[in-house]
Amino acid sequence: MKFFRQSLIVLSSILASLLSFVGSANSDGHGEFKLGVVTFLSGPAAEPFGVPAWNGGKLFIKLLNEGKAPAPYNKKGFGGMKITAIPIDESGGATKQVQEFRNLVQRDKVDAVLGYVSSGDCMAIPSVADELQALTVLYDCGTPRVFEDASYKYVFRTAAHAAMDNIAIAKYLIEKGHDISSIAGINQNYAWGKDSWKDFSVSIKKLSPNSEIKNELFPKIFSGQYGTEISALLNSKAKVVHSSLWGGDLQSFILQAKPRGFFKRTQVVFSAGDHVMPGLGNKYPEGVILGARGQYGMMAPDTALNNWFYKAYMDEYGVFPAQPPYRMVQGLMGLKMAIEKAMDNNGGKRPNKDQIAEAFTGLEFEAPGGLVQMKLGNGHQAIQPHAIGKTAKDKDGNIVVTDIVRYKASCVNPPNGIKAVDWINAGFPGADC
């Protein structure tokens, strides 16, 4: 019996060693890169944001591991290391996410975490990330405050913050000669909605000082019923109505407002209005000015990298990619470029997190949505080009985005060291349009 037990222990040890050898030897012998991916996989933000983002992320990770992505992303995995993703559901609030983050870093021993759609989570995670010295890439959330109010060593955001969306829309309205003598807004009552409205209304007042604010509505997030708000906005007779509503709230608002002639009576602008287009299809109203939080989806540039990603996503899922998958892929591309740059600096050997963080700081990389430059937050916060367009029906009656105006990153993003709202208030000094 004793002999049997000892044999079993020896056999298990040999098997474990073999397995660990196989694990470390995969993907060109460079080992494995464990990546925690956090996004909404349940709850109201899952369908419009989390699920399509993770679909894009899954697809891109698969293509990277197979070495099928185009240059400069054609090296397998991350610098030859096979990417093993551990997806985590972002729902449940910031307290739960901090715990999930600790689990990923301390229990699952991930090499990096890529995630977070919610601005609340993006405000809560960075201090914990620096405390645990865990490399963290924020791929989606919009609040400018992450790097405006603090600085972090191991945290990076690979997408522009929300100020860009609203500054660009204000500029678009002026350039296209729209009547902005009066404005109104309907935005959700939390950081994203409040910041979006502030950036938009202050930009408009700066560009057109005589413009009058008629109505500012902040319904609670996920309220779903907007009949009263629609009446109040129509009663205000504002020439332009701004909204940063997203997901189910935006879909419900459109469905409730359209039969009441809302989109014919006022010029509506949606700062992040593209992501519900795949779902709503031709129920999406004509004549809406919208942004996609970058040059994404129907407003993506005609480049080889974008055309490759757009087609790969369409082929896999049968629907065009809107902003969420673009932004997750952008995050993965930034991380890959930083790791491979750090690897080069390290003589081709696997870099540690400090070396990756150093390489990430101030990095520039091409993404499907254009050139991403880590220029703000002392090299930790990205800026990127932007595009604004207007919905119209094509000859087949399908809703498309036309009249697209593209903005350079330096035209709609503040310079390093200046808060977005201060930059707007100062009249966009140094903007390179």
Binding site: L41, S42, G43, P44, A46, E47, P48, V51, N189, N215, E216, L217, F218, P219, K220, F222, S223, G224, Q225, G227, T228, E229, S231, A232, L234, N235, G248, Q251, S252, L255, Q256, P259, R260, G261, G279, L280, K283
Partner: protein
């Protein structure tokens, strides 16, 4: 000024009607079974999903458009027929007479299960079924257009409330239910089949929840998570009106609907907490709600 008052009244009435239909089932189930059914929101969502599934099939069959309302009623009925035996007979019956907190936790657990059932059956994608909302066109009130379907919700709410009140107060079956509400033990001794009354009452509650979801589906994007706000708001209505009271639900829904509409139009900053203010005020000054009468102490 008149225009604005009319707008506030109409917006408030439409919102109150929707709230009332949702809260009616909740308050009725509490009145009869003494169960605070958190799963009510889950049944509401199932009603919305079933309508979003059945209505496109209805349109594909080429049946005259007017019958779409019938399809919505059938989908609500189907949900109630499926869910009632599972919930009432299968689960809740085992907990009658137990601590109220335990029963609330059981219904919360069922609510979570129903959320997952929605994901299992319909996935994470949103469903849209806005076509029935175009059925009644739009009407002009002052300077604004209102969708006929939204205004018809007021009629539906009045019908549901009146019908339930009449059945309870003017029919033999209704009087049996009232007897069970007053004293289930004595009613049982008098030959009333309590289990059947409970089953029927739960069925009515589930049908009303599913009906509310079914008629809300054309207004919204039907997706996972739509029931959260519904649970909170319908609880606020029954707390203000008094748990188990139909007139209370009417008044509760009207108070919240009108207060919310007035806030959105005249004081938007207050909109987010006006419902909680009404609820808190009621809990301070009349903890049992407007229509909860004094209860005799049993010896």
């Amino acid at each position: 000024m008149i225009d604005e008052l009319l707008t506030i009244f109409l917006d408030g009435a439409i919102y109150a009607s929707w709230l009332f239909i949702v809260a009616l089932g909740l308050t009725f189930v509490f009145g009869v079974l003494k169960i605070l059914n958190i799963a009510h929101g889950g049944i509401y969502a199932l009603g919305a999903y079933s309508t979003a599934t059945l209505v496109p099939i209805f349109y594909s069959l080429g049946v005259p458009e007017q019958f779409v309302i019938l399809t919505m009623l059938i989908s609500a009925l189907a949900v109630a027929i499926v869910i009632t035996p599972i919930m009432e007979r299968g689960i809740l019956r085992r907990f009658y007479g137990q601590d109220e907190v335990l029963i609330v936790l059981v219904t919360y657990a069922i609510y979570l299960v129903l959320e997952d059932v929605q994901k299992l059956i319909w996935g994470m994608n949103s469903l849209y079924v806005s076509e029935p909302r175009e059925l009644l066109g739009a009407l002009e009130f002052g300077s604004l257009y209102y969708v006929g379907y939204d205004l018809a919700l007021i009629g539906l709410a009045i019908f549901c409330g009146l019908f339930l009140w009449l059945v309870l107060n003017k029919t033999k079956s209704g009087k049996i239910v009232l007897a069970v509400i007053h004293n289930p033990e004595i009613s049982g001794c008098m030959g009333v089949n309590i289990n059947k009354v409970y089953l029927a009452a739960f069925f009515v509650g589930a049908f009303l929840a599913a009906l509310a979801g079914s008629f809300t589906a054309p207004l919204i994007s039907v997706q996972v998570g739509i029931s959260v706000a519904v649970v909170i708001e319908s609880f606020a209505v029954v707390i203000i009106g008094g748990l188990g009271s139909i007139p209370g639900a009417v008044i509760g829904a009207l108070i919240i609907g009108m207060a919310r509409a007035a806030c959105v139009h005249k004081l938007p900053e207050a909109e987010i907490f006006i419902m909680y203010l009404c609820m808190a005020g009621m809990l301070i000054f009349r903890p049992k709600g407007l229509f909860q009468g004094t209860q005799a102490r049993k010896i």
